[in-house]
Amino acid sequence: MPDTQVRSRLDWGDLSLVLLFAAVTIAYLADAWTASGSLRNLVLLVPVSALSLMLCALVVVDVVRRARAAPEAVSQEESPAPVGQSFIDRYKPAVLMALFALYVMTLPWLGFDVGSAVFVAAALVMDGERRLWLIAPVSIGFALGATLLFGWLLPYPMPTLVL
């Protein structure tokens, strides 16, 4: 199979993840080595890192092997995305990740009360719920209940905007 065809069938997400693991391993080992090159500091890290890099190499080989073995029928050209699906429908997990990231990052300003209500409402809308009479009480009610419950359970104050 020509290299260009193998490249087009490579699962780049899979490859990126294993390369991330390899990069984290190397960076961590280098940092630990810089901190102290003593046997006591590196006795576990060196063999485990070596094993990690070996396993990463095996996974890379596996990813390439899968790309080579992929049948013609599954090539991107022959399996177009379903017609009529919106961007949100096609990338729901990624959109939810972005919403959750926004929720976490805005907690210092919106607080747990407002932030949670906005996040629940946005996630419901993203997942296809359009009935406002359901979205509003569910999101506000849940955020209120959770904020009050954890406010009562935790020994230190939580960031909140209204409560």
Partner: protein, 504 residues
């Protein structure tokens, strides 16, 4: 066999205050709800509710978490019977006969059989734990740091290789977990991998990371999915009288319950295998021993009893490695070990020696939990039958919010929710590409322990490799570790054979 003075102390510990008991019923209900909703796992419920145990004492926290564990093991069977979708991986074999029973209009009897078998299984597993924990721990106390280090590696190898299809990726997950678990201040006082962040000096916050990987990452994968509910099935009601008939059906085949209990406890004790395999083994053995094997897969109550008694007794089995070695065998026990850490308790044989009363109290309380499961399950089955129909779109953001609150509660600052976010995204990517989440989490939990045991081994041996040759148990464990790399292939073959044998 049993440490009777500790047992007596345990009884007084449980009877002097009613406070620890207050959390049992809520725990069972949480477990039942999470277990019965396809996609939500018992370990997810335990991880999300772990921060709620911050204000509890250790015994109460253990009672709460083991109640969720117990409830979840049965909850998985509810959707398996009503919808033909196992709520958890431990209820796969329950669908084989549970759903055919439901199709024949005998869903109440099937639920009754499952509930009674789960109760008997839970109690059975803990009875065996009660008998074995003392001798096992006495034996384990004789293990030195070298043996403990190899046990950690062996346990991690089993979890990494037996949970998924891909051994290489499973091992890589465990290894990455182990590496991340050593970030922060090392046992000999060197600061590593913190990227200059003061939040990482004590290492990656393990529990928020666990919540992210177990709970939140799974939710990303579930978004946009809906389960196909058999419309005729979803409108059927729950009848108390017929459920009681199911109880009798289960008790009519004590051999099946005992076999399931034994298989579940034994398999549950093996790290990485647990209830997801034990229900299939028990089902297959019950079918093989039956005089009427062709009735299996067509609505035989014994099939439901075999599966449910095995998956519930696995809980007791999985506690063996947790209490005896301080090493979790799967997701549920990993959360329990995290609860140990949260309450500044180190698991393992020394814990049993010093706090035998608490361990026995947890075991005894689980007998009561088993009985309460029967009552609570009976009265909320109607609710569970309704909950399985609630669209996941409502539950997903709520569990996320709970995870964020819980993580904040654990760290006291926003590094907790941020850790959940990072590990949720990482966990989602790992799931997507067939890496093992339990292996990564358990590696994370055991990383610093493994390093500590290895350092102690080097101190004792003076760094001489020949020292290993004088440690026969270490050598045997090393051989077992290498042999266990062949196990995934054997289990895969067994699984395929069982699935093929069931007429669908």
């Amino acid at each position: 066999m049993i440490d009777f003075p500790a047992l007596a102390d345990a009884l007084s510990l449980l009877s002097t205050s009613w406070e620890p008991w207050l959390v049992v019923i809520p725990g069972l209900i949480i477990g039942l709800v999470f277990g019965c909703i396809p996609g939500l796992q018992t370990s997810m419920a335990m991880a999300v509710f772990l921060p709620a145990t911050l204000s509890m004492d250790f015994l109460t926290a253990m009672l709460f978490l083991t109640s969720i564990f117990t409830g979840g093991q049965f909850g998985g069977g509810v959707s398996a019977i009503l919808m033909n979708i196992p709520g958890t991986s431990s209820a796969v074999a329950t669908t084989f006969d549970g759903f055919p029973m439901a199709r024949q209009g005998r869903h109440n009897e099937a639920l009754g059989v499952a509930l009674m078998a789960s109760t008997v299984g839970t109690v059975f597993g803990y009875v065996i734990l009660l008998i074995l924990i003392k001798p096992l721990s006495t034996a384990v106390l004789k293990l030195g740091p070298t043996e403990m280090f190899v046990v950690i590696l062996w346990g991690l190898t089993l979890i990494a290789t037996l949970r998924g299809e891909n051994v290489t990726r499973g091992l890589l997950s465990g290894v990455m977990g182990l590496l991340i678990g050593t970030i922060g201040m090392s046992p000999n006082g060197v600061l590593r991998g913190t990227l200059g962040s003061p939040y990482l000096i004590d290492g990656v916050p393990v529990i928020p990371a666990m919540i992210g990987m177990f709970a939140a990452s799974e939710l990303f994968a579930l978004v946009g999915k809906s389960h196909l509910v058999d419309s005729a099935m979803s409108t059927r009601g729950v009848s108390l009288r017929k459920i009681l008939t199911g109880f009798r059906l289960a008790l009519d085949s004590p051999g099946t319950l005992i076999r399931g209990g034994l298989i579940g406890t034994l398999i549950g004790a093996i790290p990485g295998v647990g209830s997801s395999v034990s229900n299939l083994v028990s089902y297959s053995e019950t079918k093989r021993a039956s005089r009427n094997p062709e009735s299996f897969g067509k609505g035989n109550p014994q099939g439901v009893a075999a599966s449910e008694s095995a998956n519930s007794s696995s809980e007791g089995g999985s506690m063996v490695s947790l209490f005896a070695l301080g090493i979790p065998g799967g997701g549920g026990t990993a959360v329990l070990l995290a609860a140990f850490t949260m309450h500044n308790i180190t698991g393992g044989p020394r814990f049993l020696r010093d706090h035998g009363d608490v361990v026995y109290a947890v075991i005894l309380a689980n007998f009561v939990q088993g009985a309460l499961l029967l009552l609570v399950g009976l009265f909320i089955l109607q609710l569970l039958a309704a909950i399985v129909k609630v669209p996941l779109r409502y539950l997903i953001p709520m569990v996320f919010v709970m995870a964020a609150f819980g993580a904040f509660g654990l760290t006291g600052n926003l590094s907790g929710p941020a850790t959940v976010l990072v590990f949720a995204i990482l966990g989602w990517a790992m799931r997507r590409y067939d890496y093992s989440i339990p292996a990564a989490v358990i590696g994370l939990l055991l990383g610093s322990m493994a390093e500590g045991e290895l350092l102690r081994s080097i101190q004792i041996s003076g760094g001489r490799f020949e020292y290993l040759l004088g440690r026969p148990i270490t050598l045997v464990l090393l051989v077992l570790l290498i042999l266990s790399l062949w196990l995934p292939g054997l289990i895969k073959k067994f699984r395929e054979r069982t699935m093929r044998a069931v007429p669908r």
